[in-house]
Symmetry: C2
Subunit: 230 residues, 2 copies
Protein backbone atom coordinates (compact mmCIF):
# COMPACT_ATOMS: atom_id res chain seq x y z
CA UNK A 1 0.00 0.00 0.00
CA UNK A 2 1.81 3.09 -1.24
CA UNK A 3 0.69 6.57 -0.46
CA UNK A 4 1.12 9.12 -3.17
CA UNK A 5 -0.81 12.10 -4.40
CA UNK A 6 -2.26 10.17 -7.32
CA UNK A 7 -4.06 7.86 -4.89
CA UNK A 8 -5.85 10.70 -3.10
CA UNK A 9 -9.54 11.07 -3.98
CA UNK A 10 -9.79 13.77 -6.63
CA UNK A 11 -12.40 15.89 -4.89
CA UNK A 12 -10.82 15.84 -1.45
CA UNK A 13 -10.45 19.30 0.13
CA UNK A 14 -7.09 20.95 -0.36
CA UNK A 15 -4.51 19.28 1.81
CA UNK A 16 -0.78 19.09 2.20
CA UNK A 17 0.62 16.41 -0.09
CA UNK A 18 1.94 13.36 1.73
CA UNK A 19 5.68 13.56 2.21
CA UNK A 20 8.01 11.19 0.42
CA UNK A 21 8.82 8.74 3.21
CA UNK A 22 11.40 6.63 1.39
CA UNK A 23 14.58 7.63 3.24
CA UNK A 24 14.00 9.24 6.63
CA UNK A 25 17.25 10.43 8.21
CA UNK A 26 17.42 11.19 11.95
CA UNK A 27 20.17 13.27 13.52
CA UNK A 28 22.00 12.40 16.72
CA UNK A 29 24.16 14.74 18.79
CA UNK A 30 26.94 12.12 18.81
CA UNK A 31 27.52 12.94 15.14
CA UNK A 32 28.16 16.63 15.71
CA UNK A 33 26.52 19.97 16.38
CA UNK A 34 26.30 23.30 14.60
CA UNK A 35 28.04 23.52 11.24
CA UNK A 36 29.24 19.92 11.40
CA UNK A 37 25.70 18.63 11.86
CA UNK A 38 24.37 20.94 9.17
CA UNK A 39 27.00 19.73 6.70
CA UNK A 40 26.12 16.09 7.37
CA UNK A 41 22.41 16.77 6.91
CA UNK A 42 23.09 18.64 3.66
CA UNK A 43 25.15 15.67 2.45
CA UNK A 44 22.40 13.22 3.43
CA UNK A 45 19.90 15.24 1.39
CA UNK A 46 22.26 15.40 -1.60
CA UNK A 47 22.52 11.62 -1.36
CA UNK A 48 18.75 11.18 -1.44
CA UNK A 49 17.26 11.62 2.05
CA UNK A 50 13.59 12.51 1.57
CA UNK A 51 12.78 13.64 5.12
CA UNK A 52 14.92 14.76 8.08
CA UNK A 53 14.29 14.58 11.81
CA UNK A 54 16.19 16.71 14.31
CA UNK A 55 16.63 14.59 17.42
CA UNK A 56 18.63 15.78 20.43
CA UNK A 57 17.35 14.89 23.88
CA UNK A 58 20.26 16.63 25.60
CA UNK A 59 20.30 20.12 24.06
CA UNK A 60 18.81 23.16 25.79
CA UNK A 61 15.65 24.57 24.23
CA UNK A 62 17.64 27.56 22.98
CA UNK A 63 20.27 25.36 21.30
CA UNK A 64 17.57 23.17 19.76
CA UNK A 65 15.81 26.21 18.29
CA UNK A 66 19.05 27.51 16.82
CA UNK A 67 19.89 24.10 15.37
CA UNK A 68 16.39 23.72 13.94
CA UNK A 69 16.55 27.16 12.29
CA UNK A 70 19.91 26.29 10.72
CA UNK A 71 18.65 22.95 9.40
CA UNK A 72 15.43 24.50 8.13
CA UNK A 73 17.31 26.72 5.68
CA UNK A 74 18.81 23.56 4.14
CA UNK A 75 15.69 21.41 4.16
CA UNK A 76 13.45 24.19 2.82
CA UNK A 77 15.85 24.83 -0.06
CA UNK A 78 15.78 21.11 -0.87
CA UNK A 79 12.01 20.74 -0.49
CA UNK A 80 12.53 18.14 2.23
CA UNK A 81 10.37 18.24 5.40
CA UNK A 82 12.08 18.89 8.75
CA UNK A 83 10.55 17.06 11.71
CA UNK A 84 11.42 17.88 15.33
CA UNK A 85 11.70 15.03 17.80
CA UNK A 86 9.54 15.46 20.93
CA UNK A 87 9.42 19.27 21.02
CA UNK A 88 6.23 20.87 19.75
CA UNK A 89 7.45 24.21 21.15
CA UNK A 90 10.57 24.12 19.00
CA UNK A 91 8.55 23.12 15.93
CA UNK A 92 6.15 26.03 16.51
CA UNK A 93 8.94 28.53 17.18
CA UNK A 94 10.86 27.78 13.99
CA UNK A 95 7.96 26.80 11.74
CA UNK A 96 9.16 23.24 11.17
CA UNK A 97 7.06 20.82 9.13
CA UNK A 98 6.15 18.58 12.03
CA UNK A 99 7.09 16.61 15.11
CA UNK A 100 7.83 13.03 16.02
CA UNK A 101 6.41 11.81 19.32
CA UNK A 102 7.11 8.75 21.41
CA UNK A 103 4.95 7.40 24.19
CA UNK A 104 6.81 9.59 26.73
CA UNK A 105 6.30 12.73 24.64
CA UNK A 106 3.22 14.91 24.17
CA UNK A 107 0.10 12.86 23.31
CA UNK A 108 -0.57 12.95 19.55
CA UNK A 109 -4.05 14.42 20.13
CA UNK A 110 -2.61 17.45 21.96
CA UNK A 111 0.06 17.95 19.31
CA UNK A 112 -2.50 17.77 16.50
CA UNK A 113 -4.61 20.40 18.27
CA UNK A 114 -1.60 22.72 18.70
CA UNK A 115 -0.03 22.20 15.26
CA UNK A 116 -3.15 22.08 13.11
CA UNK A 117 -4.37 19.66 10.45
CA UNK A 118 -1.48 20.11 8.00
CA UNK A 119 1.49 19.41 10.27
CA UNK A 120 3.30 16.11 9.88
CA UNK A 121 2.95 14.26 13.19
CA UNK A 122 4.71 10.95 13.60
CA UNK A 123 4.41 8.48 16.41
CA UNK A 124 6.65 5.75 17.80
CA UNK A 125 4.26 3.09 19.13
CA UNK A 126 5.64 0.51 21.54
CA UNK A 127 2.66 -1.82 21.21
CA UNK A 128 -0.07 -2.50 18.62
CA UNK A 129 -2.48 -0.68 20.96
CA UNK A 130 -0.22 2.40 20.85
CA UNK A 131 -0.23 2.21 17.06
CA UNK A 132 -4.02 2.18 16.84
CA UNK A 133 -4.38 4.97 19.40
CA UNK A 134 -1.79 7.16 17.65
CA UNK A 135 -3.60 6.69 14.34
CA UNK A 136 -6.92 7.54 15.98
CA UNK A 137 -5.44 10.66 17.62
CA UNK A 138 -4.26 12.03 14.27
CA UNK A 139 -0.78 10.70 13.53
CA UNK A 140 0.34 11.22 9.93
CA UNK A 141 2.67 8.22 10.00
CA UNK A 142 4.27 5.76 12.42
CA UNK A 143 7.94 4.98 12.92
CA UNK A 144 7.96 1.30 13.87
CA UNK A 145 10.77 -0.69 15.38
CA UNK A 146 13.17 -1.59 16.70
CA UNK A 147 13.21 -3.84 13.59
CA UNK A 148 16.69 -5.37 13.69
CA UNK A 149 18.28 -4.09 16.93
CA UNK A 150 19.75 -0.62 17.00
CA UNK A 151 23.00 0.67 18.43
CA UNK A 152 21.42 4.16 18.87
CA UNK A 153 18.90 3.13 21.52
CA UNK A 154 20.68 0.37 23.47
CA UNK A 155 17.94 0.47 26.14
CA UNK A 156 15.20 -0.49 23.69
CA UNK A 157 13.55 -3.89 24.12
CA UNK A 158 14.08 -6.95 21.94
CA UNK A 159 13.89 -6.29 18.18
CA UNK A 160 10.44 -6.86 16.68
CA UNK A 161 11.82 -8.22 13.43
CA UNK A 162 10.16 -8.13 10.02
CA UNK A 163 7.19 -10.07 11.44
CA UNK A 164 6.55 -7.44 14.11
CA UNK A 165 6.82 -4.68 11.52
CA UNK A 166 4.33 -6.44 9.24
CA UNK A 167 1.89 -6.83 12.10
CA UNK A 168 1.71 -3.04 12.58
CA UNK A 169 1.59 -2.38 8.83
CA UNK A 170 -1.42 -4.70 8.58
CA UNK A 171 -3.08 -3.02 11.57
CA UNK A 172 -3.06 0.66 10.57
CA UNK A 173 -4.01 2.67 7.50
CA UNK A 174 -1.31 5.34 7.77
CA UNK A 175 2.21 4.99 6.35
CA UNK A 176 4.67 2.97 8.44
CA UNK A 177 8.40 3.61 8.38
CA UNK A 178 10.71 0.87 9.62
CA UNK A 179 13.44 1.87 12.07
CA UNK A 180 16.18 0.15 14.03
CA UNK A 181 19.40 -1.38 12.75
CA UNK A 182 18.54 -0.90 9.08
CA UNK A 183 21.55 -1.09 6.75
CA UNK A 184 22.11 -1.71 3.03
CA UNK A 185 22.12 -5.43 3.89
CA UNK A 186 18.53 -5.54 5.18
CA UNK A 187 16.81 -2.40 3.83
CA UNK A 188 15.15 -4.32 1.00
CA UNK A 189 13.43 -6.66 3.49
CA UNK A 190 11.81 -3.65 5.20
CA UNK A 191 10.46 -2.31 1.92
CA UNK A 192 9.24 -5.77 0.85
CA UNK A 193 7.41 -6.01 4.20
CA UNK A 194 5.29 -3.05 3.08
CA UNK A 195 6.98 -0.15 4.84
CA UNK A 196 6.63 3.21 3.11
CA UNK A 197 10.25 3.96 3.91
CA UNK A 198 13.17 3.32 6.20
CA UNK A 199 14.48 5.51 8.98
CA UNK A 200 18.15 5.53 9.86
CA UNK A 201 20.43 7.34 12.28
CA UNK A 202 23.92 5.83 12.30
CA UNK A 203 23.73 4.29 8.81
CA UNK A 204 23.73 7.78 7.29
CA UNK A 205 24.61 10.37 9.95
CA UNK A 206 27.39 8.18 11.34
CA UNK A 207 28.81 7.24 7.94
CA UNK A 208 32.17 8.56 6.82
CA UNK A 209 30.43 9.86 3.68
CA UNK A 210 26.75 10.55 4.52
CA UNK A 211 25.91 11.43 0.90
CA UNK A 212 27.25 8.13 -0.40
CA UNK A 213 25.55 6.21 2.41
CA UNK A 214 22.21 7.86 1.65
CA UNK A 215 22.65 7.23 -2.07
CA UNK A 216 23.31 3.52 -1.49
CA UNK A 217 20.19 3.17 0.67
CA UNK A 218 18.02 5.15 -1.78
CA UNK A 219 19.18 2.93 -4.62
CA UNK A 220 18.15 -0.20 -2.68
CA UNK A 221 14.82 1.32 -1.62
CA UNK A 222 13.94 2.50 -5.12
CA UNK A 223 14.97 -0.76 -6.77
CA UNK A 224 12.99 -2.81 -4.25
CA UNK A 225 9.92 -0.62 -4.67
CA UNK A 226 10.09 -1.14 -8.44
CA UNK A 227 10.24 -4.91 -7.91
CA UNK A 228 7.32 -4.84 -5.47
CA UNK A 229 5.21 -2.70 -7.77
CA UNK A 230 6.06 -4.73 -10.88
Amino acid sequence: MWYSLSQQPINQPTQTPMPDWRLYVITDPRYGHGDALRDRVAAAIRGGATIVQLRDKTATTRALIEQARALLTITRAAGVPLIINDRVDVALAVGADGVHLGVDDMPIADARRLLGPHAIIGGSPETPEDALRMQREGATYLGVGDVFGTPTKPDAGAPIGIAGLQRIIALVDIPVIGIGGITPANAADVIRAGASGIAVVSAVMGAEDPAAAAQTLRHIIDRTRSEVEA
Copy 2:
Protein backbone atom coordinates in the same frame (compact mmCIF):
# COMPACT_ATOMS: atom_id res chain seq x y z
CA MET B 1 7.10 51.00 42.48
CA TRP B 2 4.17 48.64 43.07
CA TYR B 3 2.10 47.28 40.29
CA SER B 4 -1.57 46.87 40.94
CA LEU B 5 -4.73 47.29 38.94
CA SER B 6 -5.49 50.63 40.57
CA GLN B 7 -2.32 52.10 39.06
CA GLN B 8 -3.25 51.15 35.50
CA PRO B 9 -4.45 54.05 33.35
CA ILE B 10 -8.25 54.03 33.47
CA ASN B 11 -8.83 54.05 29.73
CA GLN B 12 -6.33 51.36 28.86
CA PRO B 13 -7.73 48.60 26.61
CA THR B 14 -8.96 45.51 28.39
CA GLN B 15 -6.05 43.47 29.63
CA THR B 16 -5.34 40.64 31.98
CA PRO B 17 -4.85 41.99 35.48
CA MET B 18 -1.27 41.79 36.74
CA PRO B 19 -0.78 38.75 38.93
CA ASP B 20 -0.10 39.09 42.60
CA TRP B 21 3.67 38.53 42.70
CA ARG B 22 4.15 38.56 46.46
CA LEU B 23 4.98 34.91 47.14
CA TYR B 24 6.10 32.95 44.10
CA VAL B 25 6.61 29.26 44.89
CA ILE B 26 8.64 27.04 42.55
CA THR B 27 8.45 23.25 42.58
CA ASP B 28 11.44 20.93 42.41
CA PRO B 29 11.37 17.21 41.65
CA ARG B 30 13.51 16.56 44.74
CA TYR B 31 10.45 17.38 46.85
CA GLY B 32 8.24 14.74 45.28
CA HIS B 33 6.14 13.87 42.26
CA GLY B 34 2.50 13.11 41.60
CA ASP B 35 0.19 13.28 44.59
CA ALA B 36 3.00 14.20 46.99
CA LEU B 37 3.93 17.22 44.86
CA ARG B 38 0.30 18.21 44.43
CA ASP B 39 -0.29 18.06 48.18
CA ARG B 40 2.73 20.29 48.87
CA VAL B 41 1.58 22.82 46.27
CA ALA B 42 -1.92 22.84 47.74
CA ALA B 43 -0.43 23.45 51.19
CA ALA B 44 1.77 26.27 49.86
CA ILE B 45 -1.31 27.96 48.39
CA ARG B 46 -3.25 27.52 51.62
CA GLY B 47 -0.35 29.21 53.40
CA GLY B 48 -0.41 32.18 51.04
CA ALA B 49 1.52 31.44 47.85
CA THR B 50 0.21 33.84 45.19
CA ILE B 51 1.77 32.22 42.11
CA VAL B 52 3.18 28.75 41.40
CA GLN B 53 5.83 27.60 38.92
CA LEU B 54 6.18 23.97 37.84
CA ARG B 55 9.87 23.35 37.35
CA ASP B 56 11.26 19.92 36.45
CA LYS B 57 14.15 19.74 34.03
CA THR B 58 14.33 15.94 34.26
CA ALA B 59 10.75 14.80 33.57
CA THR B 60 9.62 13.51 30.19
CA THR B 61 7.25 15.75 28.26
CA ARG B 62 4.40 13.34 28.97
CA ALA B 63 5.07 13.35 32.73
CA LEU B 64 5.37 17.13 32.75
CA ILE B 65 2.02 17.49 30.99
CA GLU B 66 0.35 15.15 33.45
CA GLN B 67 1.90 16.98 36.41
CA ALA B 68 0.88 20.35 34.99
CA ARG B 69 -2.72 19.21 34.47
CA ALA B 70 -2.87 17.94 38.07
CA LEU B 71 -1.48 21.20 39.47
CA LEU B 72 -3.76 23.29 37.28
CA THR B 73 -6.87 21.88 38.93
CA ILE B 74 -5.53 23.16 42.27
CA THR B 75 -4.23 26.53 41.11
CA ARG B 76 -7.37 27.31 39.07
CA ALA B 77 -9.58 26.54 42.04
CA ALA B 78 -7.47 28.91 44.17
CA GLY B 79 -7.27 31.65 41.52
CA VAL B 80 -3.47 31.38 41.53
CA PRO B 81 -1.57 31.45 38.21
CA LEU B 82 0.42 28.36 37.17
CA ILE B 83 3.63 29.06 35.29
CA ILE B 84 5.60 26.34 33.45
CA ASN B 85 9.39 26.50 33.55
CA ASP B 86 11.03 26.40 30.10
CA ARG B 87 8.33 24.48 28.23
CA VAL B 88 6.03 26.52 26.01
CA ASP B 89 4.68 23.27 24.53
CA VAL B 90 3.54 22.04 27.94
CA ALA B 91 1.99 25.42 28.75
CA LEU B 92 0.07 25.38 25.46
CA ALA B 93 -1.03 21.75 25.84
CA VAL B 94 -2.49 22.20 29.32
CA GLY B 95 -3.61 25.84 29.05
CA ALA B 96 -1.32 27.08 31.82
CA ASP B 97 -1.16 30.79 32.63
CA GLY B 98 2.38 31.29 31.40
CA VAL B 99 5.99 30.24 31.18
CA HIS B 100 9.26 31.16 32.81
CA LEU B 101 12.29 31.31 30.51
CA GLY B 102 16.00 31.44 31.22
CA VAL B 103 18.70 32.43 28.75
CA ASP B 104 19.02 28.79 27.60
CA ASP B 105 15.27 28.48 26.99
CA MET B 106 13.10 29.80 24.16
CA PRO B 107 13.72 33.50 23.44
CA ILE B 108 11.02 35.64 25.07
CA ALA B 109 10.03 37.13 21.70
CA ASP B 110 9.23 33.69 20.25
CA ALA B 111 7.30 32.70 23.37
CA ARG B 112 5.27 35.94 23.28
CA ARG B 113 4.39 35.28 19.64
CA LEU B 114 3.29 31.70 20.41
CA LEU B 115 1.44 32.41 23.67
CA GLY B 116 -0.23 35.70 22.81
CA PRO B 117 -0.40 39.06 24.58
CA HIS B 118 -2.16 37.86 27.75
CA ALA B 119 0.17 35.04 28.81
CA ILE B 120 2.44 35.62 31.78
CA ILE B 121 6.01 35.33 30.50
CA GLY B 122 8.84 35.59 32.99
CA GLY B 123 12.53 35.82 32.31
CA SER B 124 15.65 34.97 34.30
CA PRO B 125 18.27 37.46 33.12
CA GLU B 126 21.90 36.72 33.87
CA THR B 127 23.11 40.25 33.08
CA PRO B 128 21.57 43.75 32.98
CA GLU B 129 21.66 43.48 29.16
CA ASP B 130 19.56 40.29 29.38
CA ALA B 131 17.09 42.14 31.63
CA LEU B 132 16.62 44.98 29.15
CA ARG B 133 16.34 42.62 26.18
CA MET B 134 13.80 40.41 27.96
CA GLN B 135 11.70 43.47 28.82
CA ARG B 136 11.92 44.67 25.21
CA GLU B 137 10.90 41.23 23.89
CA GLY B 138 7.75 41.20 25.96
CA ALA B 139 8.50 39.72 29.38
CA THR B 140 5.74 40.30 31.95
CA TYR B 141 8.16 40.12 34.88
CA LEU B 142 11.73 39.15 35.72
CA GLY B 143 12.97 36.67 38.30
CA VAL B 144 16.27 38.13 39.46
CA GLY B 145 19.01 36.45 41.44
CA ASP B 146 20.76 34.57 42.75
CA VAL B 147 20.26 37.14 45.55
CA PHE B 148 21.73 35.37 48.58
CA GLY B 149 23.16 32.09 47.26
CA THR B 150 20.86 29.18 46.62
CA PRO B 151 21.16 25.49 47.44
CA THR B 152 18.81 24.64 44.52
CA LYS B 153 21.14 25.78 41.75
CA PRO B 154 24.63 25.03 43.08
CA ASP B 155 26.15 25.75 39.65
CA ALA B 156 24.92 29.36 39.63
CA GLY B 157 27.52 32.11 39.82
CA ALA B 158 28.30 34.32 42.84
CA PRO B 159 25.23 35.82 44.54
CA ILE B 160 24.31 39.30 43.27
CA GLY B 161 23.18 40.49 46.71
CA ILE B 162 20.63 43.19 47.45
CA ALA B 163 22.75 45.70 45.50
CA GLY B 164 22.64 43.58 42.34
CA LEU B 165 18.90 43.13 42.74
CA GLN B 166 18.37 46.89 43.13
CA ARG B 167 20.41 47.54 40.01
CA ILE B 168 17.98 45.49 37.88
CA ILE B 169 14.92 46.94 39.62
CA ALA B 170 16.16 50.44 38.75
CA LEU B 171 16.87 49.40 35.16
CA VAL B 172 13.52 47.92 34.07
CA ASP B 173 9.87 48.99 34.23
CA ILE B 174 8.37 45.52 34.72
CA PRO B 175 7.95 43.79 38.10
CA VAL B 176 11.05 42.12 39.52
CA ILE B 177 10.87 39.13 41.82
CA GLY B 178 13.91 38.31 43.94
CA ILE B 179 15.11 34.70 43.98
CA GLY B 180 17.92 32.72 45.54
CA GLY B 181 18.44 31.77 49.15
CA ILE B 182 15.50 33.82 50.44
CA THR B 183 14.31 32.80 53.91
CA PRO B 184 12.25 34.41 56.69
CA ALA B 185 15.54 35.95 57.89
CA ASN B 186 16.18 38.01 54.77
CA ALA B 187 12.84 38.24 52.91
CA ALA B 188 12.13 41.74 54.27
CA ASP B 189 15.38 43.05 52.72
CA VAL B 190 14.24 41.87 49.28
CA ILE B 191 10.90 43.66 49.60
CA ARG B 192 12.55 46.82 50.95
CA ALA B 193 14.87 46.74 47.90
CA GLY B 194 11.79 47.26 45.74
CA ALA B 195 11.06 43.73 44.58
CA SER B 196 7.40 43.00 43.78
CA GLY B 197 7.72 39.64 45.46
CA ILE B 198 10.01 36.84 46.47
CA ALA B 199 10.44 33.47 44.80
CA VAL B 200 11.36 30.40 46.79
CA VAL B 201 11.91 26.72 46.17
CA SER B 202 13.32 24.98 49.25
CA ALA B 203 12.02 27.50 51.80
CA VAL B 204 8.45 26.38 51.07
CA MET B 205 8.50 23.17 48.99
CA GLY B 206 11.27 21.68 51.10
CA ALA B 207 9.73 22.69 54.42
CA GLU B 208 8.32 20.11 56.75
CA ASP B 209 5.08 22.10 56.75
CA PRO B 210 4.82 24.02 53.44
CA ALA B 211 1.63 25.82 54.52
CA ALA B 212 3.24 27.16 57.68
CA ALA B 213 6.41 28.11 55.80
CA ALA B 214 4.40 30.00 53.19
CA GLN B 215 2.34 31.72 55.89
CA THR B 216 5.47 32.90 57.70
CA LEU B 217 6.93 34.35 54.49
CA ARG B 218 3.63 36.00 53.49
CA HIS B 219 3.40 37.61 56.91
CA ILE B 220 6.90 39.09 56.53
CA ILE B 221 6.23 40.23 52.96
CA ASP B 222 2.91 41.85 53.80
CA ARG B 223 4.21 43.55 56.94
CA THR B 224 7.26 44.90 55.07
CA ARG B 225 5.11 46.17 52.21
CA SER B 226 2.93 48.02 54.72
CA GLU B 227 6.02 49.64 56.24
CA VAL B 228 7.39 50.61 52.81
CA GLU B 229 4.06 52.06 51.69
CA ALA B 230 3.47 53.89 54.99
